[in-house]
Amino acid sequence: MDRDGILRIAKLARLEIEDGKIEKFTEEFNKILSYFEKLGEVNTKDISPFLLKNENVLREDEVIRFKDRDRILGNAPDRQDDFFKVKKVIEE
């Protein structure tokens, strides 16, 4: 993984990384990735991926109204009436 690779991952994850830290991030990332190579020693040819429970849990999709709407909206960094306010998404 090189500097560009790190920047590509950071972009996918929507993370701004300070310029001065990219090199150190890259170095540590590579160290961790090479540690992961150890897993290649384990033969997993006929092994199914881990599952704690081999069945789906289903329920009705019912709407339950939250009583304290204002407590939720009160956390909004920016709001207008009963809406969370964000920067314009659609081009004019």
């Binding site: 993984m1 790190i6 991952i9 950071a10 996918l12 994850a13 929507r14 993370l15 701004e16 990384i17 300070e18 830290k21 991030f25 540590e28 990332f29 160290k31 961790i32 540690y35 992961f36 150890k38 897993l39 290649g40 020693e41 384990v42 997993t44 092994i47 199914s48 991926p49 881990f50 599952l51 704690l52 849990v57 329920r59 939250f66 304290d68 407590r71 939720i72 009160g74 956390n75 909004a76 960094p77 920016d78 969370f84 964000v86 920067k87 314009k88 998404v89």
Partner: protein, 452 residues
């Protein structure tokens, strides 16, 4: 007349205010809330009303478990200003039994760490020796109990975040079976690994809290109702994995002494968990993968910090870039990478397969033994600032991670002291949903051993 409970709680808060300056186990004391609750409890006494099972018991709560009307930050700037609109299920259950919630405790940012050094609000110090870390990520909760501020505290454990700090601070810390306790209201980190559990000075108090918080909750679909059986067998077979003796000399000798002092009906046999050495690699692929997805919700739109950018997307970059610390960014990126197209099979899928192999090791072992015993951590508490390399920090979790990967219950109890009087923890694991048996055995072991 001043009520007895109010006096007790006021005393507890006074002690924290005075002595926690040196430890920094609490991020906030809920003075108003705690005193108000204490007054209600005194009123109950006066009226002769029925008293809950935890009547007047002060409890500290890790900063990633939400309480209605209170702040919760997960040790992160990105949740600055957030006030929870609802109670976590465990908080509801504690308060229903008349426990008094005293405050929220410090933690590694988003529980990513093993030392409580990555908190955005400063480090917590080990009450045994303030130059050393308390362990992590639930370091604040462990320290609050070890310092004698509160008798019990809640933490969360994804790869050892309850047991390792319990071990470093010299208290008991219990990670229940996956599914035993509802995680509703616990800020999600690694959803296939996370469990909430208690810290206490002794196993009896651990049991008392576990009995209150455990059980099915329809708001956490992974939670399960089961009846723990608090009973032992005539002969208890304990397996000591030979892979778990790869630890520091002081830890090894404390663990060996503990094994020599086990109750008479405990038989010890050597076993093997042959894939132990792969647990850290598996964990640091799976946990960051789950975290990268869980932490996508922190975008500055509905709560917490927002830094505006040139457009909506740029705002995400700025909000997350300034709100998250370096370790959080690193883990999100590791997870994003492991799940990204072209790498998924080699990393995430491979890790899930090796996880199945590790789980199989335990299944085989529990056919022969009732308990698996050994050290909680390969080392005792290290100095603040001593470990700076991320991978070296990850390797601290080698003995605690396997229980999370397999979904089994595990407890750490104090078993000795190493250099500078720093505590050593003894870990006991049992098969999934044998939580009652495990706690019963831990209590017997706690009674049988002496050190110093």
């Amino acid at each position: 007349m001043k009520g007895q409970i109010k006096e007790k709680i006021a005393g507890c808060i006074g002690k924290i205010k005075q002595a926690d300056i040196k430890i920094h186990s609490f991020l906030e004391i809920f003075e108003h809330r705690a005193i108000e609750k204490a007054e209600q409890l005194d009123e109950k006494v006066k009226n002769g009303d029925k008293q809950g099972r935890l009547f007047g018991l002060p409890v500290a709560i890790k900063d990633n478990i939400v309480i209605k009307g209170e702040r919760a930050t997960c040790g992160s700037k990105i949740l600055e200003g957030f006030i929870s609109p609802y109670d976590a299920e465990v908080v509801k259950r504690l308060e229903r039994e008349d426990a008094v919630i005293i405050g929220r405790t410090n933690m590694d940012e988003f529980a990513f760490g093993s030392s409580t050094e990555t908190s955005a609000w400063g480090v917590t110090r080990n009450p045994v020796n303030p130059e050393f870390v308390p362990g992590g990520s639930s370091g604040g909760s462990a320290a609050s109990v070890a310092a004698g501020f509160v008798p019990v505290a809640l933490g969360s454990d994804t790869g050892g975040s309850i047991r390792q700090p319990a071990s470093f601070c010299g208290v008991c810390g219990f990670k229940p079976s996956y599914g035993a306790v509802s995680r509703y209201g616990l800020v999600a980190f690694g959803s296939s690994l996370d469990q909430i559990g208690p810290f206490a000075g002794n196993v009896r108090d651990i049991k008392k809290i576990f009995e209150v918080i455990r059980g099915r909750d329809e708001k956490d679909e992974t939670s399960v109702e089961f009846e723990p059986v608090y009973a032992l067998k005539e002969k208890v077979v304990c397996g000591i994995p030979k892979e778990y003796l790869n630890c520091s000399e002081k830890v090894k000798s404390a663990v060996k002494k503990t094994i020599e002092q086990l109750p008479k009906n405990f038989e010890v046999v050597e076993i093997s968990l042959p894939h132990t050495e792969y647990a850290v690699g598996v964990y640091y692929i799976i946990a960051p993968s789950e975290a990268s997805s869980n932490l996508a919700r922190f975008d500055g739109i509905r709560y917490g910090r927002r830094i505006d950018g040139s457009d909506l997307i740029d705002g995400y970059f700025k909000t997350r870039g300034s709100g998250f610390g370096d370790e959080v960014k690193r883990r999100i990126m590791l997870g994003t990478f492991a799940l990204s197209s072209g790498y998924y099979d080699a990393y995430y899928l491979k890790a899930q397969k090796v996880r199945a192999v590790i789980k199989r090791d335990f299944d085989i072992a529990f056919k022969k033994v009732d308990l698996i015993i050994g050290p909680t951590s390969p080392v005792i508490a290290f100095k603040i600032g001593e470990i700076t390399d991320p991978l070296s920090m990850y390797l601290q979790d080698i003995f605690t991670i396997p229980a999370n990967l397999a979904g089994i219950p595990a407890i750490s109890i104090p078993c000795g002291r190493g250099e500078m009087g720093l505590p050593v923890g003894f870990q006991i694991m049992a098969a999934r949903f044998n939580d009652g048996f495990l706690l019963e055995a831990a209590e017997k072991i706690e009674e049988a051993i002496s050190y110093e």
